[in-house]
């Protein structure tokens, strides 16, 4: 079996060997077991279903939470000459969607956003095609205790039943033991085989820098970037700040190529900037958390957090984009007093307030009185009530699970509404507490007086192993020493003095 798998790997992907965990997970998947795979980001999670999809007779369905991630994955898979892939999501036009659905037999892998699993037409088409393997990417999204809970993920179980219970493969980069249990329960597969591999990336040194009053983050940032010219991502929690800082850095470091990246850029620019970073044309990216998923750049050496992320899971994922080539890299988190307030404020603004819940209920009551259905368009409802779309989505989800909304129709019963209200309040409070706890855990990391590595991976794995000296800023790491050991980016030589004709000839590779 093992030789056979390696041969197939070479045949389809031209890799010589598996990375840790891949072969074990794929072996179990091909045996037809339900599997939960917990592998660090960048360790080739997607291969765990891509290779089986080649060897299984029918379709592999992959549920993925973010459309942009899906699109990136399809693009990358196609670049590997694996063309039988498609993505179904809400941004497709009616024609594009119908085209994929009527030609399902052409595909081996179909990526799907979770909300589409409620669509009967889609379930019907998938059932007809037959599903060999059902993959849940970012499986932690199913847990209400996780950092990235998505209500749509709770509907997966129903869709899996409707598809005739095909074998499952759940994958995640960051799952604590607690959430692991919850995933098995939510999917109702207690016998699922769990494969857990260490998340820790030994090649990434951890540094926390607490700034004193006499220096701003921007000044320190410029200092660090001046010391070393290597591929760098700087993470921000606001789009505006990412853009502003990119502008400032361009002024301070005119000889570096710097770009910014966030969700508001048009798709063409997003693709180009990702690619420029891959080609080492852009060296420093100022980004929000939207950047990095699905990007496989081997030589990222430095990940700086300008703002503290809201939980350790996000932090581990983001620093995990460095050192994919196994070479030494650094994570630097910049912290100044007051930084802790921002994530707590964000939590307040992310979850519906008491007033918003009431407003939504009043709205439902009016619909009930008028005997009108709930508009399908979230954006429309959101604009009408001045409540953020994600909150509407969350409220609608809870009202649906409690039978207040059924098939977009409002069902009124005073007693049950009161009970539901109380339940929803409880749920929102619980969710708030989870998020607050996550921020606290992140703060423990920032303020830790013992090894940062141990603090960070606590709950995710038992032991950490790194040589003391290269471990973290608490264990005595010296940033200048690490920098000294790193290679600088090789810059392509430019010849601006040449005429445009000479440059064009060179670019098109024709001798003049």
């Amino acid at each position: 079996m093992s030789d056979y798998l390696t041969k197939q790997l070479q045949r389809y992907f031209r890799y010589d060997s598996f990375r840790p965990g891949q072969k074990e997970i794929i072996g179990d998947v091909l045996k037809g077991c339900d599997v939960l795979g917990i592998l660090p980001t960048g360790s080739g999670k997607s291969l765990c279903y891509q290779l089986p999809s080649r060897l299984l007779s029918d379709l592999t369905v992959v549920v993925s939470p973010l459309i942009s991630l899906m699109v990136d994955q399809v693009r990358e898979t196609k670049a590997f000459h694996f063309k039988e892939v498609a993505a179904l999501h809400s941004l497709l036009s009616y024609e594009e969607r119908t085209d994929i659905l009527t030609n399902l037999h052409r595909y081996k892998i179909v990526y799907l956003s979770p909300e589409l699993l409620q669509n009967r037409q889609i379930i019907g088409a998938l059932k007809k095609r037959k599903v060999s393997l059902f993959v849940i990417d970012e499986a932690h999204c199913i847990s209400q205790w996780g950092h990235d809970f998505r209500p749509d993920y709770l509907r997966l179980k129903l869709a899996i039943d409707l598809l005739g219970n095909p074998p499952l493969l759940a994958l995640s980069g960051t799952v604590t033991a607690e959430i692991e249990q919850d995933i098995l329960e939510q999917l109702e597969r207690p016998a699922m085989k769990v494969h857990r591999y260490p998340l820790e990336q030994k090649n990434i040194a951890l540094v926390v820098e607490k700034l004193k009053r006499n220096k701003t983050k921007d000044e320190r940032l410029v200092e660090i970037l001046r010391q070393k010219d290597v591929p760098t991502i700087i993470y921000f929690s606001s789009k505006q700040r990412a853009e502003e800082t990119a502008r400032l850095l361009k002024e301070q470091l005119p000889d570096r190529e710097i770009a910014y990246y966030h969700g508001d850029l048009d798709p063409e620019s997003r693709l180009k900037i990702q690619q420029q970073f891959l080609y080492d044309q852009v060296e420093i990216i100022c980004a929000t958390s939207a950047f990095g998923m699905g990007i496989n750049k081997p030589n990222i050496r430095l990940v700086i957090h300008y703002h503290m992320p809201p939980d350790k899971e996000s932090f581990i994922q983001e620093i995990g984009r460095a050192a994919r080539d196994g070479k030494e890299s650094v994570s630097i988190l910049l912290f100044e007093e007051g930084d802790q307030q921002l994530p707590f404020k964000l939590i307040e603004s992310e979850l519906p307030t008491e007033q918003e819940i009431r407003k939504f209920l009043d709205f439902l009551y009016i619909l009930h009185e008028r005997n009108e259905p709930l508009p399908k368009d979230y954006v429309h409802v959101s604009e009408m009530l001045h409540i953020h779309e994600t909150k509407i989505k969350l409220l609608k989800f809870h009202f649906e699970t409690h039978g207040i909304i059924e098939d977009n129709k409002v069902c009124f019963d005073e007693a049950s509404w009161k009970r539901t209200m109380a339940k929803i309040r409880q749920l929102i409070d619980a969710r708030k507490r989870v998020k607050q706890k996550n921020v606290m855990n992140m703060l423990h990391y920032v303020h830790s007086e013992h090894c940062l590595r141990q603090e960070l991976y606590k709950g995710f794995q038992r032991r950490t192993e790194t040589e003391k000296a290269n471990c973290c800023s608490v264990c005595g790491l010296s940033l200048p020493d690490v920098f000294k050991r790193m290679d600088e980016t090789k810059k392509p030589k430019t010849h601006p003095e040449k005429s445009w004709k000479q440059r064009l000839a060179k670019l098109l590779e024709v001798g003049e």
């Binding site: 693709l271 180009k272 690619q275 080609y279 004709k501 064009l504 000839a505």
Partner: protein, 354 residues
Amino acid sequence: MLLEAIILYCLKQIDRERTINSIYHLLLGKPSIQTIQDAHLYGLERFYALYKTLDKRSFAEQVKQLNENSYIEHVSHEHFVVTVKGKTMLEKFDLAKYYWNGMKFHQIDSAFFERLLLFIQVWTNAKNHNFRYIPIVENPKTLHWAKRLFHREPKNYDVRLKQLYEELVRIFDKLPPIYPEMFIRQITTAEKIGLTFEQLANALKKPVSDIRLLHMNYVHFMLEELSAYPKQYPLLSSFVQGLNDATNETTLTNSANITLSYIKRGFPLAEIAKRRKLKLNTIYDHIVEIALHDDNFPIEPFVSREKQDEIFKAAEKLKTRKLKLIKEAVGEDIDYFQIRLALTKRHRSNGEKR
């Protein structure tokens, strides 16, 4: 700066007869017959769909700037007029030297450029025997086109790249050097990824809107050149083949096409509306659209020669293209539809485009 000049020019042309929003629709290339007819009426064809990515906010911001700098002033809530200061400023921009021709090329310009970009990426990578890369163009139609072309002669990259180089040099030699400079930075090859418009604007120290408009300028120049001398550019000309041609009948909206087929079979307009379950006004829109598209489409069955003359005279006398004013000045037996239709004709007989 260029965008400001274009807005000024358009405002001057429509001379308070249309709202400021009509200019936004024009630049965006709104496919409504009103916008298209306005473009013809006021000699603004070249600006139609010249800035397809213009967002409402930046347009409003430009208008605000023009107003604050007293280049334009309000005459009513939605109407502006160009001030003397604005006219002086407009003269400094010699808009006539640009090659924009939106009405002619708006349906093929982006597709043509996408093909050119993708061709360069695919063929330079092929030359390096690299087949693992992410295409810089995502439009499935363009990808399909490149794939078919490539499979026809997968080994011929040296010849094709040389040919492309020669044709590009021939065409760019006719333009100021800023255009090839832009082009070189925009293309993606085996070695490098092209710049975004914003990056290009930073590199050349110009506003993004200027860069987009200069980009359209050289693309339209190329298209004009290719349609005038296709034999000099066999490879580049082949990139245009199969793209929708604006002079073609097929670019009529589908619905107008169906109406046309009924007219050809001799159905009266009211009957067409009834059979197609459409409003008569919609059928009128179709007739205007057809007349704008086809110079030889006879409008006499709908508005007689005498009525046409009466309409022209009123328009000349009042120096206006406002339908309402013309309507008040002509006989009661002439309706709005006939005025609109006659005006398509006048634009033609004058033969003036700019």
